[in-house]
């Protein structure tokens, strides 16, 4: 009995516990780690990861996968930087990025639902196109000319609170509310769990899938803006690197509380966990390459613990 209790406890809280353990280890090893300044540092570092993680979470909830988010974020970000370099205001630049993300999300949705191509392939293809367009536009060179107001998205503060933290909170509140409290949010889960039963219950699966891909695209566009703001210039290769970590973050999130169920709080925990590890290792002056090994191990351990005892 106590054994069963232990297993169910581990399955529920493994990811949260590992986060706490990681924080404790780093705090003991390096006093500078556990400070408000460093906390703000971490939020700055995980903003993009969290937003793209949320983007991927939407796709995964609806029973699909979106491999294009990193490339779409890159293209959207670079076009925003380009627009600003050509004299656009920051607001217009952001709107351009969001539109690009939205457009690619819509295209993904149409290709998957209307043409019936599997999302794995559809988004891989469209992502490659986005990457190609990024290089066509930049000719491979960084784009410069960002204004202060654009850069402030990553480094500014409002009432002494970093803007990235405010963005994280806003995105968290909106998407969490949407997925838990609105009909379309619940329908996304429904079609992801069982498309056939959803269809038989009268849900319009195609529209819902397109909507979900569009939200993913929109969030990718937003992620693109913040990547470039953080880097200070338009880097054509900045986006794609986020894809795998975004997927990892979403899956880490699915191991929080309920096994195999994607949700926004979980994605947030996942992003914080990975962000904390990278930050801590950097502070401890651990060689950069170990970060990959550490994040890989954490992903395997957390998801492994959460699925422990499943098949017995």
């Amino acid at each position: 009995m106590s054994n069963e209790f232990l297993i169910s406890f581990i399955r529920k809280y493994a990811t949260l516990t590992s986060l706490i353990v990681v924080i404790c280890i780093f705090s003991l090893a390096e006093p500078r780690f556990f400070s408000l300044t460093n906390f703000f540092n971490i939020t700055r570092q995980i903003t993009v990861l969290f937003i793209l993680g949320v983007a991927e979470t939407y796709a995964l909830i609806s029973g699909e996968i979106d491999l294009s988010i990193g490339w779409v974020a890159g293209l959207a970000g670079i076009l925003a930087v380009g627009a600003q370099a050509d004299g656009s205001s920051t607001l217009v630049a952001i709107l351009i990025a969001l539109t690009v993300g939205l457009f690619f999300g819509l295209c993904n949705g149409f290709i998957v639902t209307i043409m019936g191509i599997e999302s794995f392939i559809a988004t891989l293809g469209l992502g490659q196109i986005a990457y190609g367009l990024t290089f066509l536009y930049t000719k491979g060179a960084p784009v410069i000319g960002l204004k202060q107001s654009f850069l402030k998205l990553a480094s500014g503060k409002i009432f002494n609170i970093p803007i990235p933290l405010l963005i994280i909170i806003a995105i968290f509140l909106i998407t969490d509310y949407h997925l838990r409290n609105t009909s379309s949010g619940r329908f996304f889960y429904a079609i992801g769990y069982n498309a056939e039963a959803s269809l038989m219950s009268g849900l319009n699966i195609k529209i819902l899938k397109i909507l979900s891909f569009t939200i993913t695209g929109l969030l990718s566009g937003m992620g693109g803006v913040l990547v470039m703001a953080r880097l200070g210039s338009g880097q054509p290769t900045a986006g794609p690197g986020y894809l795998l970590n975004a997927i990892a973050v979403a899956y880490l999130g699915a191991s929080v509380f309920k096994e195999g169920e994607f949700h926004i709080f979980g994605t947030l925990v996942g992003a914080v966990l990975i962000g904390t590890i990278i930050n801590g290792l950097t502070i401890l002056n651990v060689q950069y390459y170990y970060q990959f090994i550490a994040t890989g191990l954490v992903l395997l351990i957390a998801v492994g613990l959460a699925s422990m005892g499943r098949k017995k």
């Binding site: 069963e4 609105t182 429904a190 169920e261």
Partner: protein, 506 residues
């Protein structure tokens, strides 16, 4: 039913117990199996039948108790242990790889390699053919993929495969659940054949008439305990039901409503699609209309057509004197036509959703308010609780996921999902499949009440007694056409079967 070997006990189980979190699934189960007998296990959903046979097959680890195989104490901790002891468990979904050829599936992992490791395909194919013909599947080509099998063929194939691996004890978990009556006959024939060879067979069933048809002994389980084991010849179906429920049996089928013959509720004229041809009939107010037919006769296809799942080519549907048209499921639902589909786990419910989330799935948009379309959770819970009380749905609470409910309760949730809307016509496809006797009767009563209140009820079933007991009139499908309509009171099983096999002329 000769029992020449009845004295040899091949398997003896003593005091097996198993606890799952929160439930005592098995408590001190005692069970014995004779050589060459067919031993049925009956019980309501959740009685522990599946858990019990799975412990025998090593798929579930028991907490305590002993198992004796041929009077030797044995340990069965894994499925491999069971296989080595000659115990073979046939999965409900047969465990076949549908893309692979029949012979490859048959000899999976053991196909006649040469010394160098190359598979000798000609032997594999010919050996498979020999085995198949022993089990009455001689027409099957072992080079075809297993996806060409019907359910019965897959079932028999799996049994043949187990037999070819020297199984001496065969365990079947509801083998007839998805079979038509003729497929069932083929299966039973091969079971009797195996029995004659001295194989012992344990099989779980929900269909009590099958027990007297084929089993030598029956063990009834209730709440994780064995209530009774006796020879089938010494026990009646009513006894079995009493043991299963612990209660005296009432009438299995409720009394039918009187149909109002002057009042036509539904008119169907020349309905045609790719799957059915020229169907025309009327349904009167307050009656329950049954539809029966063999697999492939078009009964399920007709239901899908009527509910907008498959497209209509021509024909007219008049609902309460109003001609209606729809092009997809959504429009059919908007017109008040709802389908309780054949497979509740795949088509009817979202297993990972709670009772509440499933119940309100079809009305969720109406429960939302405000600019942000916020779900009114209080209203949602109130509606669900109403159905849980009304249909006495057994769940821990309305937030429990439906995958943890028994089949009968799941089906009640599917009904709740539709009845939360204004339904004019409810089409039910095999609504009581795999559901225990007591819940079946409850569902019949619900349907009766709905019909009484004026809802058109069309019930599709492959079980003749059920359709005779529940429906006022019965439409029989044969080769994609309506072969005839019979009044339940004026007909009998035999006549219905004749129609089902295409012999309409009396």
């Amino acid at each position: 039913m000769s029992l020449q070997n009845q004295t040899t006990t091949v398997l003896k189980v003593s005091n097996i117990s198993k606890r799952f979190p929160g439930v005592q699934a098995l408590l001190d189960v005692n069970f014995s199996l004779y050589k060459g007998e067919i031993h049925a296990i009956a019980g309501e959903n959740g009685a522990g039948k599946s858990t019990f046979v799975k412990t025998l097959a090593g798929l579930i680890k028991k907490d305590s108790g002993t198992i004796m195989r041929n009077n030797v104490s044995v340990k069965i901790n894994t499925n491999l242990d069971a296989t080595k002891l000659g115990i073979s468990f046939v999965h409900q979904d047969f465990g076949l790889i549908s893309e692979m050829k029949i012979a490859e599936n048959f000899y999976l992992g053991r196909n006649f390699p040469t010394k160098k490791g190359k598979i000798q395909w000609h032997i594999t194919y010919s050996e498979t053919s020999v085995w198949l013909s022993k089990f009455g599947l001689s027409k099957i080509n072992p080079r075809e993929p297993t996806s060409t099998f019907s359910s019965a063929q897959a079932q028999i194939f799996t049994i043949a495969k187990a037999f070819s691996r020297n199984a001496e004890i065969l365990i079947l978990d509801e083998p007839t659940a998805s079979l038509t009556s003729e497929e069932k006959d083929i299966l039973f024939h091969s079971l009797l054949h195996m029995k004659d060879q001295g194989i012992s067979i344990v099989f779980i069933t929900h269909k009590l008439e099958e027990i007297s048809e084929i089993a030598d002994r029956v063990t009834v389980m209730r709440d994780g305990k064995v209530v009774n084991t006796s020879y089938v010849k010494d026990i009646t179906v009513n006894d079995i039901i009493r043991f299963m429920t612990g209660k005296e049996v009432g009438a299995k089928y409720p009394k039918c409503n009187l149909a109002l013959k002057d009042d036509i509720a539904l008119q169907i004229r020349h309905l045609t699609s790719r799957k059915v041809k020229n169907i025309s009939f009327d349904i009167y107010k307050k009656e329950i209309f049954g539809i029966i037919g063999l697999v492939g006769s078009g009964r399920t296809e007709f239901a899908r057509l009527l509910c907008g799942v498959d497209p209509l080519e021509s024909g007219e549907i008049k609902l309460f004197n109003k001609s209606i048209k729809f092009h997809n499921i959504r429009e059919a639902i908007e017109n008040g036509i709802c389908l309780v589909p054949e497979d509740r786990r795949i088509q009817g419910l979202i297993m990972n959703f709670s009772v509440c989330e499933n119940t309100t799935l079809a009305i969720l948009k109406r429960l939302c308010y405000g600019f942000l379309s916020h779900i009114d959770k209080r209203k949602e819970r109130k509606i669900t609780q109403g159905f849980v009380d009304k249909f006495s749905i057994k769940a821990q609470n309305i937030d429990q996921k439906v995958k943890f409910l028994s089949g009968g309760n799941q089906q009640k949730v599917v009904l709740s999902k539709w009845l939360s809307r204004k339904v004019k016509m409810l089409v039910l496809d095999e609504v009581t499949k795999g559901i225990d006797v007591a819940t079946k009767t409850e569902i019949y009563k619900i349907l009766n009440k709905l019909a009484e209140k004026g809802m058109i009820i069309i019930m599709i079933s492959s079980e003749v007694p059920e359709i005779l007991g529940v429906c006022n009139r019965i439409g029989i499908f044969y080769k994609r056409q309506l072969q005839g309509i019979l009044e339940a009171k004026k007909t009998n099983e035999e006549e219905i079967l004749k129609f089902m096999f295409g012999r309409s002329g009396v």
